[in-house]
Subunit: 342 residues, 4 copies
C-alpha cells in the first residue's frame, strides 16, 4: 500500500501517518516528490486495509500497489530521483561521467589516470580495490591499500570515489574511504549483501547481473531500499547472450524500460558492456542518446599492461575527446523531464 | 585470395585479371574503391598460388584472405559502400529513414501512411505484402494485391519501395513491383533463397536472424554477393535473449563490429527490435548515435487496429517529430569516414 | 473449433460433418483415435458457432480450442501418433534409431556406413545430399547424385531413407528418392517451404530451430498439418545458449513438454545437439530415459576425414555398441501409454 | 604446476615435497589417487621451474598445468572423487538421492516429509532455512529455528542434512546443525563466500549459476578447493535461456563435460531445473542415464500450500515410486569407472 499525502500536508502530518504505520508493525518509507510526499509501506504479509489511513489528516488517498515493487516505482515517486554522491549528483540534468581504471594497481597508475579524468571536468572516479575475478589465481585487487590511494585521489582532485565492495568488511571500508558503494553484477542477488548496504548511509551503484531480468534488477534495488537506503543508482553493464562479437550484449532498451517504471537513475557501462575499446565510444554515445543518466567508462594510461580488463580501457586522451562529444550530444538532445533530489 | 590492383590500373588490366581467374575455373568479383580496385576470388576449394597473379600488369599485390568472408570484407573494399535503392542511396552521409506499416492492409491505410512518410522527406517506404507469421492461422498478408498498392505509392509519392519476399515467386514479384527485396530474420539462413536473390538485379535488405552471430550474418550476405549481387544492406532487428521487458534485445554493438569488418551499410529496426512503441524513439536515437546508416521504423495511422505488430508502430505524427530529431542528431555527430558507391 | 464424434459414429457421419465444414468455407481435419474420431476445423477467421454441429448425427460435442494450435494438439487426438516412414514406424513402442553420415560424400562411404547401420537392426538411414552450410564456400552437398546413392541404400539394405530438402526442388527430389523429408533447423520458420511439404504425401521430420520456443516449434508443425500432411515427426537438436562446452544445448525437457501438449512423436538428435562424439552416448541414453520416441545419430567410417561435422560422428562400431545399450535401456523403462497409428 | 609422486612414494616424501613448496611461498595440495598421489601447487604468480622438484626423492614428474584449473582437474586426480557427507558418500557407485522440501516451514511439514524420504532408503535430506528470494517481500525462510528442525531430522531419521547458507553467519550455523553446506546458484560467484566455505570442514554442494559457463562453474569450485576444502559436490540446476516451457533449461550435457575434465562428483536438480512437477520424473531419469552421481529432488506433503516453489515439488508417494525407478535404472546401466574417496 502507498499513502499519497496532500500537496499541502505538513511535516507533522507525514510523521503522524508514519507513526501509525509503525504502530501497526509495518515500516513507513516517506518519499518526497516535487508536488507531494508519498509513503510506501513494507513489512506487511497480506494486503492492508486502506480504512486505517484515508481519514487521517493530510492524506489524499491510499493506493494498492499492483506491481511487485513498492519503493523503486514511479507510483510512489513520479519524478526521477537525483542521488547525491559526495558533493555531486547522479540523475539530474547533467550527464554523470564516472571514469577510472578497472583495478587500482599502483599509486602512479591511479594518479595519472585521475589527473586526466579531473581535467575533463568529470565529477566521479572509479577504480576497484577488491576485484571479483572468475579465477582464484587472477589478480584479486590491492585491497585496503588501494582504497587509501582512492581516498587520496579525492583529496587531491576533488573527485568523488565509486568503488566496489564484495562483502560486509568491504562495505565497511568503502564507507570509510569512498563516496559510493558499487555492488557488482555477480553480487546483484547476494541478498545478504544487499540488506547490509541497505543499512549504509552511502549511496549504492547497483550493477545488473549478466542474466537478470529487469524485474529482478529492480527487486534487487528494492532489497536495498527496503532497509532504508533510498540512494540507489542502477547500472546496465551488458547481459550474457550467444553473441561473440562483444564480451557482453549491452541492453540499452533497459533504459527506457526502467524509466517507465522507476524513479531511480540508470547509467550505462559501455566498457564492461562491450569488452572492446573501439566499441566504447559508439556505445557511450548510444547510451547518452537513449537517455541514460550517466556513463561508467574505464580509462587506463597503459591498457596493454593493465592487470584487469585492459582490452576495454580507453587512453586518457581518448577519454578526453569522448567526454567532449558526450556532453555536446547530451546538450543537443531535448531536455529530460524534471528530476528531483531524494 | 584477393588481388589488389594498382591505383592507376586500367579497366582492361582489371578485365584481363578477371579473365585469367575465370580461365582457372574460379569467379572474379571486382570491387571498385576510391583509390584502387580489388578483385575477390571465389569458387576455389583450397588456397591459390599467388604466383598466378603478382606478375600481371596492373596488379599491386595478391593477399591471402584469413577471415571466413571474402566479399563483405573491408580487406576487399576499405571504404564503406553506398547502395542504390531506387533513386536514392543507403550508406552515404545522409541518414536513411525507411518507414511504413508492418503489413499492407488496405489502399487507404497505406496511402495515408505514405503521405505522412513522404511529407517528412523520407526516401524509402516499407510495407509487407507477404507476412511470415508464427501461426498459420494469423493474417498472412495481402500478396500481389498488396504489392500493386506499394507500386502506386512509388508512382504517387516518389518513395522507393522496400518489401519482403519469402520465396522465389515472391522475389520475382518484388522485382516487378518494388525497389528493394527484404529477406526477413527467419529466412536469414534460407540458403536457397539467398542464392536466388544473389542473382537478382535489385538490392537486398538482409535482416539478422534472431539468434545469428555476426559471422553468420555476414556469411549470409556473402551467399548473396557470391552470386554476383553486391547490393546488400544489413539490418539489425533484435536478438532473442532471456529478457522480457522488450520483445527482442536490440544489439547495437553489432554496428561498430560490422563497420570494423565489412564495407556494407547497416541499419537498425527499433520497431521489431523492441516491440514497444514507447521504446522506438529512444532506441532510434541510440541507433543514430552508434553510427547506423539508417533506420527502419513502423508507422501506422491506427496502431490499435493494425493486423500485425500494432504495439510497436508509431503514429504518423510521432514519426514526423522523431524524424526531425533523428536528422538533427545525425548532423550533430562527427562525420563518418567517406563512403563510396558500389 | 473441434468436433468430437461419438465412439460409435459411422464413417458416413464423419464424412457428412466434414462436408458441412467444407460447405461453410472451412477445412475439416478428421483425426482417428483409438476410441473416437475428432475433426479439427481450420480456415475460419473468428470463432465458430457450435450450433452448426452439436445436433448433427454422430457428434458427441463441439469444443472451443483455447490454445494457439488446433491440429498438433492432444485435444484433437489424445493418443500418441505413430508415423509410417517407408515400411516402419516412428512413435510406437519400439525405439526408432535413425543413423548415417551428416553428408552423403561417396558411394563407398555411404555403403560402408549403411551396412553397419543395417547390421544393428536399425530401420532408418539418414544422410544429407543438400547441406545447409553457414559459409557459401563450405561443401554444399552432392545433390541429386547423393540422393541416388541413398536410394540404392534402400534397395540393398531395406533401410528407410530420411534426407533433407532445402527448397521446393529438393522436396520434389526427396519425394522421388527418399522416404522422409527432413526440414532442417534453419528452415523451421521457412513458412513457404512448410506449406509446400504440407502438400507432400511423404512424412516430414521437422527439426526445432536453434532459438525456437516450443510454441513456435509446434506451430511450424501446424503449418504442415494445416495443408493436409499429418505425418510430422518432431526433432529436438539443441538450442543456442551462452554455453560453450557443447556446440548447442540439448533441451531434453522439451520431450515431456511436447508429450503433454501434442500427439506427435518427438525424437532427439544428440549428434548435432552436442557436436562432440564423446557426449553422444550419454545424451542418447538420456534421450531414451526422458521418453523420446527415437534418436538421430551420426555415424561415419572415418570421422576425421568427414566433409561435414566429423567431430560429432560415431564410428560404426561405437554405434553398434550404443544401439544395444539404447534398446536395453528402452526395454527396462516402464511402457509408454498406448500410441495409435495416424 | 603439478608434482606427480611415484606409486611407491612414502608419506614422508610427500610431506617433504609439500614443505619445499611452502618454503617457496606457495601452497601444496596433495591429492591421493588409487595408484599415486599428486600435489597441486597454487599461490604462484608466474610459472614455476620444475627443476625445484624433479630430482626430489619420490617425485615421478613435474607437469605444467595448461588449463585454467589446477585442483578440480583430472590431471591432478584421474579417478573420480567420492565425497563424504555425514555418514554417507556422494560420487561412488551408488546413486545419491537428496530429497526434501524447498523451504523448511514447520516441524510437522518437515517431519512428515523426512519420514517419507527416509522410508525410501535415501541418505540425504535437504531443506532451506535461509531462502534467497527474488523479492524482499517473499518468505525469507525460518532461519536458525529451521536449522534446529533439520538437526532433529538427522537425529530421528539418520538422514544427512544438506542446507543452504547465504552468508558467513549462515555458514557458521550450517556447520553447527547440518552436514553439507549448499551454495546457491545466485552465490556461485560470491567469491568472498566461496573463500569462506573453503575454510570449512564441511563438504560443499555448489550449484551452477543460471548463466555460468562450465569453466566459470569449475573455477568457482577451484576457489573453494584453493582454500583447502576439497569436498565439493557440483550441482546442475538449469540455465537461463529464451525457453518458456520450463522454468530453466536443464543442461544435462554438462555432466559428461564435467566428467571429462574434473574428478568432482556432479548431481542434477530436476526440480529447480524444470520448475514443473510433471517433468521431474522424466528429467530425473535422464539425469541418471547421462551419468550423474545423484539427484536433488523436492518433496512436499502439500505442494499447493508450499511457501516456496510448490509447482515443482513431488508428493511423498510420487517420490517413493520415482526413487525405485531411478535405482533400477542406475543398476541397469553399465558400471562407472572406479571412483576413489578423497
Amino acid at each position: 500500500m502507498l499513502i499519497v499525502m496532500k500537496p499541502d500536508a505538513t511535516q507533522s502530518e507525514i510523521e503522524r501517518v508514519s507513526q501509525i504505520i509503525k504502530d501497526l508493525g509495518y515500516r513507513p518509507h516517506p518519499m518526497a516528490g516535487s508536488t507531494r510526499t508519498a509513503i510506501g509501506i513494507t513489512g506487511n504479509d497480506g494486503s492492508l486495509d486502506s480504512a486505517h489511513f484515508v481519514s487521517l489528516s493530510g492524506v489524499a488517498e491510499a493506493i494498492r500497489v499492483t506491481k511487485p515493487y513498492k519503493l523503486v516505482t514511479r507510483e510512489l515517486k513520479p519524478e526521477r530521483s537525483m542521488i547525491a554522491v559526495g558533493d555531486s549528483f547522479i540523475g539530474g540534468s547533467e550527464l554523470a561521467l564516472i571514469a577510472g581504471p578497472c583495478a587500482v594497481e599502483t599509486y602512479d597508475q591511479v594518479f595519472e589516470t585521475a589527473e586526466a579524468v579531473a581535467a575533463t571536468g568529470a565529477k566521479f572516479f572509479r577504480g576497484g580495490a577488491y576485484k571479483p575475478r572468475t579465477s582464484p589465481y587472477a589478480f584479486q585487487g590491492t585491497g585496503e591499500e588501494g582504497l587509501r590511494i582512492l581516498s587520496e585521489v579525492r583529496s587531491q582532485f576533488g573527485l568523488n570515489i565509486v568503488t566496489e565492495a564484495m562483502d560486509e568488511r568491504g562495505v565497511d571500508l568503502v564507507e570509510e574511504y569512498g563516496d559510493c558503494i558499487q555492488i557488482g553484477a555477480r553480487n546483484m542477488q547476494n541478498f545478504s549483501l544487499l540488506k547490509y548496504v541497505g543499512k549504509s548511509n552511502k549511496p549504492v551503484l547497483l550493477k545488473r547481473g549478466i542474466s537478470a531480468t529487469m524485474e529482478e534488477f529492480l527487486l534487487a534495488a528494492e532489497y536495498i531500499m527496503n532497509e532504508g537506503n533510498y540512494n540507489v543508482i542502477l547500472c546496465e553493464r551488458g547481459i550474457r547472450t550467444f553473441g561473440t562479437h562483444a564480451r557482453n550484449t549491452l541492453d540499452l532498451s533497459v533504459v527506457p524500460a526502467v524509466k517507465a517504471t522507476s524513479h531511480l537513475p540508470i547509467i550505462i557501462d559501455p566498457s564492461h558492456g562491450t569488452g572492446k575499446n573501439y566499441m566504447v565510444g559508439p556505445m557511450a554515445k548510444a547510451g547518452v542518446a537513449v537517455g541514460a543518466d550517466g556513463l561508467l567508462i574505464e580509462v587506463h594510461p597503459n591498457p596493454r599492461e593493465a592487470l584487469c580488463d585492459g582490452a576495454q580501457a580507453l587512453l586518457p586522451e581518448q577519454f578526453r575527446l569522448l567526454s567532449t562529444e558526450l556532453h555536446a550530444l547530451r546538450s543537443s538532445l531535448k531536455p529530460e523531464p524534471t528530476a528531483v533530489s531524494v
